[in-house]
């Protein structure tokens, strides 16, 4: 079931010794007063925290890869680097093709604006033209089952509606690489089935899927291959069943259900 990417031409994502260091949040000054008081009190301020350490891997065209690990293992940081949100502190990242993140895409909505207005802004950011968005709008509204709500402010939407709209946008943008962060943990069973059907269809067209989760069962369902992250290090990269065993050893607890 799981196979390594056939040729180097088909590489979509490549990490070479990628390293991401964050400044510790409590050391971050927000106001001038904090800067001054700290400058007099402490000497150093570059206390760092390594979210990812020397990570190297490749993901090929048409692959579906799960990224698993416990909270704080660096999974989401990795997705944000692939999405281009973070520029890594060190190492080389290559991403070929268009990327649409479902990293809580819904959080990118402006609550005061209508669904339609939010589709426009999000679509433009994801690289579509206004024209292309208008052509796909109908499909998005249909997938999201929004009906007349599309012209109401997003703040009036239910959580489910927001999720469906977010997924609908990412799906209709039709990227080469889709990034999913725990999205299936929310929503009812019908919505989850719908999303999974859309993801299967997406994969059948040779697109690449990268799926982050700490729920190993949903990774097994979608991805033949997985990467295991632990405290910022890449512990293992291989067939999802093997990774699942390693992950369970690591957590030494029954798989969390949601």
């Amino acid at each position: 079931m799981y196979k390594k990417p056939a040729s180097r031409n088909g590489i979509r994502v490549r990490f070479e010794n990628v390293w991401q260091r964050f400044r510790v949040i409590r050391e971050r000054p927000d106001t001038l007063r904090e800067v001054f008081t700290r400058a007099f009190r402490y000497g150093s301020r570059f206390e760092g925290f390594d979210a990812l350490k020397e990570i190297s891997f490749e993901i090929g065209e048409g692959e579906a890869v799960g990224i698993v690990g416990r909270n704080g293992s660096g999974k989401s940081t990795m997705l944000k680097i692939i999405a281009g949100v973070y520029r890594p502190t060190g190492g080389q990242v290559t991403v070929k093709g268009s990327v649409a993140p479902l990293i809580e895409l819904s959080a990118g909505f402006q609550p005061e604006l209508t669904g339609r207005e939010n589709i426009l802004i999000n679509g433009l950011i994801l690289g579509l033209s206004k024209r292309e968005i208008q052509d796909r709008e109908e499909g998005i509204v249909e997938f999201a089952e929004l009906g007349d709500f599309i012209d109401s402010p997003v703040k009036q939407y239910s959580t489910g509606m927001v999720m469906r709209l977010a997924f609908g946008i990412a799906a209709e943008v039709d990227p080469d690489i889709i990034l999913i962060d725990e999205i299936l943990a929310v929503g009812d069973a019908a919505f989850q089935r719908k999303c999974i059907a859309r993801i299967e269809e997406f994969r059948s067209r040779g697109k690449t899927l990268i799926f982050v989760s700490h729920a190993i069962q949903s990774v097994i369902q979608l991805c033949p291959r997985a990467l295991l992250l632990h405290k910022g290090e890449l512990l293992a990269d291989g067939p999802v069943r093997e990774i699942a065993e390693r992950y369970e050893e690591l957590t030494r607890a029954p798989v969390a259900t949601h």
């Binding site: 964050f22 400044r23 971050r28 000054p29 927000d30 106001t31 001038l32 800067v35 944000k80 999405a83 281009g84 949100v85 973070y86 520029r87 990327v99 993140p101 990293i103 809580e104 895409l105 959080a107 990118g108 909505f109 402006q110 005061e112 604006l113 207005e117 426009l120 802004i121 999000n122 433009l124 950011i125 994801l126 033209s129 206004k130």
Partner: protein, 258 residues
């Protein structure tokens, strides 16, 4: 600089959408909506005209036009700066989720206020007609000071947008600086009022060349000297290149601080 222009060209649809969003959110749930862009300068003008020509008896013919000719561009400048200071933090929800060229936000903030500026020219024109004030041919010179104003606002906008990401105090400091700057610029008074030996100090203010261009063309009906026209564009370009290089230098770390 070249990078800025290609980034603007590449993202032009997104910039327009963000600027419209800015305006729409600003006027949402207000009965008069876009009319506020007209009413604001109108009331400001009424108040200032009453204070300065009736109470303080400043001897300037058609004081309202004299003042508005500089107040409108000044308002564009202050609003553009106020919006730019907040724009990166205000769009944190987008910056943290997707890759976006960061420069689009200050550009959109300035663009939204250009729309407002265009609206606010309407009361000025009405006043010119109502007071039977001559509509000087020198109005055709206005694109030059407008260009200078735009470049200068954008340059300062880039600077405060970046600075406010790291120190939230900047947004507050900007307001204080703008208040002082307003009284030190010949908006409500004429430069002739300033004692001769202090005139050189006032000429260090870059806004003076821009405001003068507007006032000479609209109120006095004369063209500024060639040197003054060059200074108008010169200060604009200088501000933009300085402000943008500052912005560019720090833009990759914005996401960690917004």
């Amino acid at each position: 600089m070249h990078q800025l222009f290609s980034e603007i060209a590449h993202n032009r649809e997104l910039i327009v959408a963000l600027a419209l969003q800015e305006l729409r959110v600003r006027y949402k749930r207000s009965v008069l909506g876009f009319f506020w862009a007209l009413l604001n300068p109108l009331f400001m003008m009424l108040i200032l005209t009453v204070v300065f020509s009736t109470i303080m008896r400043i001897k300037i013919h058609a004081y309202s036009i004299f003042m508005l000719s500089a107040l409108l561009p000044w308002t564009l400048f202050t609003q553009a700066l106020t919006y730019s200071a907040e724009t990166m933090v205000g769009h944190a929800h987008l910056l943290k989720k997707m890759y976006i060229g960061k420069a689009v936000f200050p550009v959109a903030a300035v663009l939204a206020n250009i729309v407002n500026f265009a609206f606010s020219m309407v009361p000025l024109l009405i006043l010119v007609v109502a007071l039977r004030f001559p509509l000087h041919w020198t109005w055709i010179y206005l694109p030059i000071p407008f260009m200078g104003l735009l470049l200068f606002s954008l340059g300062c906008g880039f600077f405060v947008a970046a600075a406010n990401v790291f120190f939230r105090d900047v947004a507050h400091i900007v307001q204080i600086v703008l208040q002082g700057w307003f009284y030190l610029s010949p908006v409500i008074y004429s430069l002739d009022f300033v004692p001769h030996r202090y005139q050189w100090l006032f000429h260090l203010n870059p806004m003076i060349y821009i405001l003068n261009g507007f006032r000479l063309a609209i109120y006095y009906g004369v063209l500024p000297t060639f040197l003054s026209a060059c200074m108008t564009l010169g200060v604009g370009l200088a501000a933009l290149s300085l402000g943008y290089s500052f912005f560019r230098h720090y833009q990759d770390s914005f996401v960690f601080y917004v």
